[in-house]
Symmetry: C3
Subunit: 273 residues, 3 copies
């Protein structure tokens, strides 16, 4: 299934509209090209509706949100909804500031998202709000480990059901859930956390995968996660003495250029729960 | 001639003011340094006139245009005109949205551009407007190939005459025309399209070349195109197994550091029509 | 002492809030991760106070300042002051435009900066204003060389005393001074100037070093300068035929990942004056 998802992206060259942060935007663009998609960046209210219309999907990332771009996120999201395009939300820093938390929550209220991808802390903020972190979520640990996995899987499914969208929680173990099924994925390297923006890159990738696989959105989202993780492994195996996070960043994007469907199918480590 | 153009850049270290998109801005800055120029980025209305005054030329790229930066493009352009500095326009995404199309067209109306550089689709939008794509341009193909070359050359010259500026259309075959002469250039690699921003980088380069070669603007613009293409070829020859678009990006910029005038003269593949 | 400063950063993972330019922001983020810190970027008035509160320090860089982000710089700076966090100012382009000069000067007036890092031209602008460059500063040369070193050291100390903060002037020879003592540092390579943003990267690094070393701020700032210079040397030694500024940029960040306290202590070339 992951093989088919990857090949659909390579065959269809999905055009992805990104409203994303200026920290990692270049890497997001190059990752989209590397996976076989095509990126457009546009974040102004007067531009986003036209741009999102000609694209296949929309990736909203709030990493450097501001008063000018926040309304553009809503406009683009609503337009993408109207056009029937998949919308992914990456709630960067939800929980770290009121503006980020509220913007992410409002986006979820006003826009039908196909998928939300974040780390466990960001996703918990969306689930429980920043004010209730000692309430309902007291039993959801702050990291997804083998020990906390059963609760985390249940949490992901429950939130996916509640928000009626795919929930992707990425970290040492990655979860990709809808209301019924949760993919648990174990590719990747801890060193990927030493590169800025691997999460943003994955959100771009995942949007392309959703666009090209409308009949299999859950598997497509999981395939994107597996691809990113596998790229991290292959890139790590190519690291030479003295290489560090800058080179690792480049090698991950390079690896995404070369991974084909067969390799992804063979090397992806996942189970469904 | 290309040798002289390149050496003038290296000897004069032209300072280029860039109002450019946040996707590829870092690569534009590093390419300008690599070719022997010096970049400054400034996009705010209160800042651009001072900055453009101390620079030798202005590179306007509308890739992530917005309500704040569009007026700054006009202010900077008018100031550069007043100072007699070359202005290059890169109409990224003209044709993809009304805002982009109109902004590019208005910039061309209000600012005297020395050169416009874009792909065939963007340049056609400037020539015919987004509303008339089935009219006059029906016989201009959407790609410049050996078959469509004669019409494309005629189109480039005609538009150059009409707009009274150099028209650079880049793609598999590159054209650089004024109203009388068209350089047809055949350097480069198709894989350059898998890197975000090679067009933006070329626009930065070309601006530096225009600044340093006021007596030979057409040849300078063509030399910049040849340099970028040759860098793509040299960089490709240095690619190793497993390398992809991230590494290719770096190697292209690296190659620009090392190409000297003699090599450019020798390896540039061009004709005048 | 430099060893201790570096190890404190690695052990404490200081979280640094950056309001920085969009040209070099990705490199700043990756450098912060490489040195053992953690970056957050946020530049909107409604976001910066929350973000700076959860961080350990604030890095303000005016490289692409604008009407929206300038007020955010003041808000964040005041909040950081209130929280007792170190604030670093990187006055990019002070002297090149009135907006830059005035913004830098106003920031210094309204915010208590722990350190200011710039090149000699920017720092002179802060000291003398852009209008008086033929006045008091007539005897401060435009480059710090062995010949001009005594005056430059005196100038740095005097300005540090006047502004009551650490003054870091970087160039061929680097100076890091408070009112009493000036570190003179001689690591680095001239080729670092061919990469966009090595100064911005150093400002990010230095902020992390200030956060993790509150008892030894002057030494910490000097250690950050030595680290950046040493990374430039190590990276240069790894350059291969055909490599240029893009690869050099990556190798410098890579080197920062690997330099440990012992190596920094051993290879840093400095004296106190």
């Amino acid at each position: 299934m992951f093989q088919e998802c990857l090949e659909n992206v390579r065959n269809q060259t999905p055009l992805v509209h990104n409203i994303t942060n200026y920290v990692t935007v270049n890497d997001v663009a190059n990752v989209l090209l590397a996976c076989g998609g095509s990126p457009i960046m546009s974040d102004d209210c007067e531009d986003v509706e036209d741009i999102t219309t000609i694209c296949g999907g929309l990736n909203i990332n709030i990493g450097t949100l501001n008063q000018r771009t926040i309304p553009a996120m809503f406009l683009a999201g609503k337009k993408a909804n109207k056009e029937g395009h998949p919308v992914l939300l990456d709630p960067v820093g939800a929980g770290a500031s009121r503006l980020r938390t509220q913007t992410a929550q409002n986006l979820l209220k006003e826009i039908k998202c196909t998928a939300v991808r974040g780390n466990i802390s960001e996703i918990k903020t969306l689930a429980f709000g920043s004010g209730s972190t000692k309430g309902v979520d007291a039993d959801i640990a702050d990291a997804v480990t083998e020990e906390t996995l059963p609760q985390a899987v249940a949490f992901a499914k429950e939130l996916a059901k509640k928000l009626d969208c795919i929930i992707a929680i990425t970290g040492a173990i990655d979860l990709v859930a809808d209301g019924e099924v949760c993919y648990v994925l174990r590719n990747g390297r801890p060193e990927m956390g030493q590169i800025t923006g691997t999460g943003c890159q994955l959100s771009g990738l995942m949007t392309a995968y959703l666009v090209a696989n409308p009949e299999n959105e859950l598997a497509a989202a999981a395939a994107a996660v597996a691809l990113m993780g596998l790229a991290g492994e292959i890139a790590w195996s190519r690291m030479q003495e003295g290489d560090g996070n800058a080179t690792y960043r480049n090698r991950i994007i390079d690896a995404i250029c070369h991974i084909d469907g067969k390799l992804l199918e063979e090397k992806a480590r996942w189970e469904r729960r």
